[in-house]
Amino acid sequence: MGGCACATLLPPAYLLGTHNAAALEIAEKLDLAGKLRLADLALDAAKKAGASYADFRLCRYQDEYLEVKERRVETSATGLSVGFAVRVLLDGTWGYAASPLATEAEIRQAVTRAAQVAKASQPLQSRKFVLEDIPAYQDRWDMPMKADPFKVSTNEKIAKLLEINEAALKAGADYATAVFAFVREEKFFASSRGSRIEQTRVRVIPETEVTVIDKATGHFSTRAGFAPPRGSGYDYILSYDFIGEAAKAAEQAREKLKAKPVVADTYDLVLDPTNLWLTIHESVGHPTELDRALGWEANFAGTTFVTPDQLGKLKYGSSLMNIIADRSQEGGLSTVGYDDDGVRSAGSEFAIVKDGIFVNYQTAIGQAQLIGQKASNGCAFADSWSTFPIQRMPNVSLAPNPKACTLDDLFADVKRGIYIMGNGSWSIDQQRHNFQFGGQLFYEIKNGKLGGMLRDVAYQGDTTGFWNSMDGLGDKSTYFLGGAPNCGKGQPEQTAPVSHGAVPARFRKVNVLNTARKDLA
């Protein structure tokens, strides 16, 4: 298959400059009628090949990446990627094929390749995949957005990035980097169950960092920005005070160089939501993925300590802990109308942890019935037209305290603690027990009051011990939606965008390391 027809037939058409009518049928130029026609062709061919289920995804990704270092533009780039995938279930075995050329001939060949892969894999299929009933939808869903970033001029965006760096450099940074990345994702999905769904969403990904140097000592420190990526328009960029933060970041990085090194010990921690969202992602989002519990990620992302027999029983955290999954939250990177299995996800909020008890996994099709549940809760995602949809996170968020509680209220009950803001390094084991997280800024808490800056802080813990030690939680006025554009999972590896809402929370007696200590063991 490596020497497939694509490699031998297509290039000469490009090279000869012939008018390749078929190639012009790419998704970029297709209207809905054209997409429907190609979908019918793919699904009909799959049926003829013997597939009991098939789906066809035709996607278009547009992106822009702008990077400014100090006072110069390092990168100004745009990108466009278009292609399709056909997935078939043949006698209980999956096979798929993907190609950038959405021509009739290529779609037929892709169906043949997908069926060939499935047939070749059948001798390995000790248990057949069975899919639940999936309702059919004919729908269109578009992410609500005020200002389309692709309609804002590149000049304006670059000017903003230069302004951010200028503020940092003026405030004493030796180096400054500012990035804006934008992605528009357009997906057309059609399945043999009858669904025909068009969806569009946009991601805005800002990243900033300043560095300060102390030449005399050879030491340096950095401070990364707190602005998370969002499923939003350019209005998000306009609403965030990047300039103010850049200046403050330069001062804080300088302060960090002279900050007091932390003494390794156990401390009470108050974690700002700019830090806690990632801890939620790693220690709650990933462990509650059903494919991990089923062992399907054992060779890469890992399994999980949250086994199906613990559904409804595991005391994941204190009674203050409520973790909600949704695909509807405004600005959420996982917010979408339908998942990549064609399961309706908008409005289908569900609890993962309720009053501290584990109550639900995230699922994709073909999984839920394996633990006695009826159907997928709409958590499938493929990061490209060229990849297979696997179970990925919806927005997974820590619900605010229903009772009034501010950040100062959380500090008030701490005699000796540390307040941590922003994300530093992060790492967690393959079953999601043992973690270690850093941060950007660390402050002492003494007798209920916030004190001076600390440095070289990282906290270690085990997931359930940590969440059961939570005894303070901010209210909805403290809510912050963090997130990552690039969560990795699957083989071949896929990266998914995901958001996590969080409020500040207080955790008791957490192990804190001094990362600059020579003797770390």
């Binding site: 497939c4 694509c6 110069r72 993907a98 892969v117 894999s121 043992n434």
Partner: protein, 445 residues
């Protein structure tokens, strides 16, 4: 989707002819992959994706812009050329811009095997089948990923440079677990030649480790003498060179190689005298891509020689500014090995640990290249020269820069797969290391 050299060159020339910029750089790349993914002794999500892409960077004076896409129709190419030119015109001048290079001389690539390109889904399934049979016979659960692919890339400039590389790749990793979830073993490899793959032998290694790691005991955290198998070494050394060996950041004062008071530590003894790390794209064990940054030939480079820091990557711009010389990013890596077998290392260890591989490595402190991460899929206690029992996993906090000053013995350098470096061609030895910092226990299996 792949192009041969002549077709790639013709396509690049066609795009360059469309350009209205002062100069431009054009890149094409494509692949055709097949993979079988399996878990719990059965196939899961297998497929055959392919793609071909194109990128152009246009220059007007020092104004630079780029665009990429995968619509290679005449209209698509013209649209991308226009998009990159529009972006370039909008961009402010880049004071660090250097005109693209003219023709260069490249070595012949040696990382292509026709047998890999021709490997069909049926051949992949036939490789995996004995692994699953073996797992079922031993009442173990096997999960893994076997991927083969053929790919090409080319780099061309309007000044006459044209570089082309085609390669094939094979990756097979697998994890075997005991059904009670208390034992786990792993094995993995990469190569460019499918005929070199012995999936059943890899399966036997993973399954043996799964059985032997069953019901591990807990040991306290601390500093241990460790034997690091090649996968673990590949991740630490590969990450260090890839992310930290940079002349500019060293000169700017923000790197482990920064000298106190300014400048870099090039020429200084930074590692133990027994450490040497090279890259050579013609290395038969780990051949690499023949070209690198800016289309510069990927030449043999000594990064560390007998402990001395010999080279850091250096862009053309920084070379000009710092009066150094351009040093491209490596496209392959080889750490010089020794002659001590793993069995001999075990024999000479009074108390220590044998570590299979690492997981989730992240940098904690860029100043010292302190990494954290975890052991995974097989840690074994060594007592008085013998492996005595399996032990639980640990989190480590350790710097490869510091660690490579405490290497007591090395095995032969072998081709290795590390989770963090993936398919990057790298050969490293098994290492016997003193005082490795294991800072907490993980009960994950």
């Amino acid at each position: 989707m792949n192009l041969n050299e002549a077709d790639a060159q013709a396509l690049a020339a066609k795009v360059i002819a469309l350009s209205k910029a002062d100069s431009c750089v054009v890149e094409f790349s494509g692949y055709d992959n097949r993979h079988i993914r399996y878990a719990q002794n059965m196939a899961t999500t297998s497929g055959a994706p392919g793609n071909i892409g194109f990128g152009i960077e246009s220059h007007f004076g020092k104004h630079v812009g780029s665009a990429s896409g995968n619509d290679l129709s005449d209209e698509g190419l013209a649209a991308l050329v226009a998009a990159s030119e529009k972006t370039a015109k909008l961009a402010p001048e880049n004071p660090e811009f250097l005109p693209p290079l003219g023709p260069q001389k490249y070595a012949k690539g040696v990382s292509f095997a026709p047998v890999t390109e021709a490997a069909s889904p049926e051949m992949l399934a036939a490789s995996v089948q004995p692994v699953l049979r073996q797992a079922q016979e031993q009442h173990l659960q096997a999960s893994g990923f076997l991927e083969v692919g053929a790919s090409f890339s080319c780099f061309a400039t309007s000044k006459g440079l044209f570089a082309y590389h085609r390669s094939t790749s094979v990756q097979h990793t697998l994890t075997a677990r005991t059904p009670d979830g208390t034992g786990s073993g792993w094995a993995g490899t990469t190569h460019y030649d499918f005929s070199q793959l012995d999936a059943a032998a890899l399966g036997a290694v993973a399954m043996d480790k799964a059985v032997r790691s069953h019901k591990p005991a807990a040991l306290p955290p601390g500093k241990y003498t460790v034997i690091l198998e090649p996968s673990a070494v590949a991740d630490l050394v590969g990450l260090m060179i890839r992310d930290e060996f940079d002349a500019r950041s060293a000169d700017e004062g923000r790197n482990f190689a920064t000298k106190k008071g300014g400048g870099s530590r090039l020429g200084e003894s930074v590692f133990g005298k027994n450490i040497s790390i090279y890259s050579d794209p013609s290395d038969p064990l780990v051949p690499g891509t023949v070209y690198s940054d800016d289309g510069l030939p990927a030449e043999p480079v000594a990064w560390v020689e007998n402990g001395v820091l010999k080279n850091l990557t250096c862009s053309r711009y920084w070379a000009q500014k710092s009066k150094y010389r351009p040093v491209s990013s490596p496209t392959t890596l080889a750490m010089k090995g020794g002659t001590t077998s793993t069995a001999e290392m075990v024999k000479q260890t009074k108390k220590g640990l044998l570590i299979t591989r690492f997981w989730y490595i992240r940098e904690v402190d860029p100043q010292t290249v302190l990494f954290t991460g975890l052991t995974r899929d097989g840690v074994f206690l060594i007592e008085n020269g013998e492996i005595t029992r399996p032990v639980q996993n640990f989190r480590f906090n350790e710097s490869p820069v510091a660690m490579l000053n405490r290497v007591m013995a090395m095995g032969p350098s072998v081709r290795a797969y590390g989770e963090e470096v993936g398919n990057f061609p790298i050969s490293v030895p098994t290492l016997l290391v003193d005082g490795f910092a294991l800072s907490s226990v993980s009960d994950a299996v």
